[in-house]
């Protein structure tokens, strides 16, 4: 295995089979993928294609049953124990008994940061996601979009270079979603993190990513990897340009190809 210097995630022949009561489910089969430092990689595909499972394998929340995977050149478990990544779930998952600032402080408390350090980081990350002024609010006093932004702040608060996001905006309406996508790109440009992003929206994947991984179900596998040549600076109306539409068409074709054997 030849992992290049700047690869963050390196998967070779990765497979994961769940044993359920109804028999075996092949969630992932022979997945080969490299995520390089500073990339924004989207995983797109219909439900059941294993995109979330792949993200959870990177995060050491699931154990692969075949193949190898390294995160920062180590096993996912070691990477997790070294707090190598921040994970944003489908729902915000904020603790209702903690204020927004205490929620952001949660990982910092667990990782043993000093009091002043925690205070500074709360201030900095809440500013990054435009939530300054909401420090003392409880999660249930905020809208869904604000809660999700707070959960992103929580994942950014500690020094992980890798940010894993599992359909973070799936439950939000389209206007809020556009807004958060725009903010996420700015945030990515400012922090230079590597981002793995699961979605089922083609425009979202094309708009955000430098690399789009198209996946198909039964068994979950990678059918296409599309390198996007869109500029890093992306206003929202880039979505009307021919370059954008060409990439979107290729993603759609890839998704359709993955489905064809079912017809």
């Amino acid at each position: 295995m030849t992992a290049s210097q700047n690869s963050v995630v390196e998967a070779r022949g990765l497979g994961l089979t769940f044993d359920t009561g109804d028999g075996q489910v092949h969630a992932l089969s022979n997945v080969n993928l490299t995520i390089n430092k500073g990339e924004f990689v989207s995983f797109i595909g219909p439900s059941g294609c294993g995109k979330t499972t792949f993200l959870r394998v990177i995060a050491d929340l699931e154990q692969p049953t075949a193949g190898t995977i390294t995160v920062n050149g180590r096993s996912p478990r070691e990477a997790r124990e070294q707090r190598a990544y921040g994970y944003v779930f489908q729902a915000a998952g904020l603790f209702p008994w903690r204020t927004i600032e205490r929620n952001v402080a949660l990982p910092l408390e667990i990782m043993g940061y000093s009091k002043e350090e925690i205070g500074q980081r709360i201030h900095r990350t809440l500013e990054l996601v435009n939530l300054t002024g909401f420090e003392k609010k409880y999660p249930w006093q905020l809208s869904g979009g604000m809660q999700q932004r707070a959960s992103i702040a929580r994942a950014l608060a500690f020094d992980a270079d890798l940010l894993l996001m599992d359909e973070p905006f799936g439950a939000l309406d389209e206007i809020v979603r556009d807004h958060l996508n725009e903010q996420l790109l700015k945030l990515w440009a400012r922090t230079e993190k590597t981002i793995g992003f699961v979605t089922h929206s083609i425009p979202e994947a094309v708009y955000l990513s430098t690399k789009i991984v198209v996946m198909s179900p039964r068994p979950g596998r990678v059918t296409d990897v599309i390198e996007s040549d869109l500029p890093r600076e992306r206003p929202l109306d880039i979505r009307e340009t021919p370059e954008f539409l060409a990439i979107a068409a290729r993603v759609r074709d890839g998704l359709r190809a993955g489905h064809s054997y079912e017809d």
Binding site: A59, D60, L61, R80, E81, Q82, R83, Y85, G86, Y87, F89, Q90, A91, G93, F95, P96, W97, L106, P107, E109, I110, M111, Y138, W140
Partner: protein, 370 residues
Amino acid sequence: MSIFLRNWQSVLALALVVTSFAFLPIVSSGAGGTSWPIVLLLVAGAVGGVALGNTVAVSAVLFIAAHGAVWLLLSALTDHAGRATPSFWLLLAASWLLAWRLVTVLSAIRTRDRRTDILLRLFIPFLFGAWLLILWEAIVGGAGIPFVLLPPPSAVAARFANSLPILAADVNQTIFKAVLFGYGVGCGAGFLAAIVADRFTFMQRGLLPIGNLVSALPIIGIAPIMVMWFGFDWQSKAAVVIIMTFFPMLVNTVTGLAAAGHMERDLMRTYASGYWQTLAKLRLPAAMPFIFNALKINSTLALIGAIVAEFFGTPVVGMGFRISTEVGRMNVDMVWAEIAVAALAGSVFYGVVALAERAVTFWHPSIRGG
């Protein structure tokens, strides 16, 4: 027509007053003269309650009429217990209807002023409870129910006021020693056992079924054994309370520790959070609603346990001891006074736990209201 329907209590009260004329006087051996102020008050209340427009004026008239009339009715019974005529019962029913109308009028008030709102919220149940006592007093006095069967509340209140030192000693013995100690130790031990059961699976598998078995043990059977083990003083009662409160706490805490969601647990895992950190920062806060459930259940169980346990041997002080001995001496007013103390103490105990719950689990949808 609708004005009569809305004021049907007043209309019916008026009809009852008129009917009562046929059976005057109100007590079979007394002079008839005293009944006229009652009749006048009730008629004024019924008519005023319908005719006046202002809510405050209506409430005032109804309040004065209903309570003035019933006070006169009750004082007419002095020295004439058990001699009430049908007229007495009709007038009593009329007074009660006016009080009913008063509560209806007060309940309908919608105010934006916080202080008035709180005052109303306290006053309405107070009025309701007061009329339960008034009717109890009037029925016991009017029908001449024997004292040993049911003493009137006035006698219970008098006994209460005259026995404050005894009641205080009983409360001290039963509540401040047996109940509080047993409750604290029982709940604390149940909580710790739940943590241990959570940490070590074999404990959970083994302890919980046995816990269910022990919690089904009859307290009547355990209490005498505890008295044999720990002696006559409060320690044996505390032991009964510990046994009664241990398992509700254990079972609720174990359930509560499983209440944290999968996503939140995964989140803690991504932080490489240890067992105790996850327990302190996620699982215990998420378990608090369940733990407070147990604390509330146990606050009632502890009181019952301590009082019943005193039936099986005790020094000559304690609420259970007092109830069992005074029943034997036919001093039922003392028994009722002791019951009132127990009810009061139980309510205060429960109320304190419920207030603490509101403060700790303010974030839970059932409390923040949404």
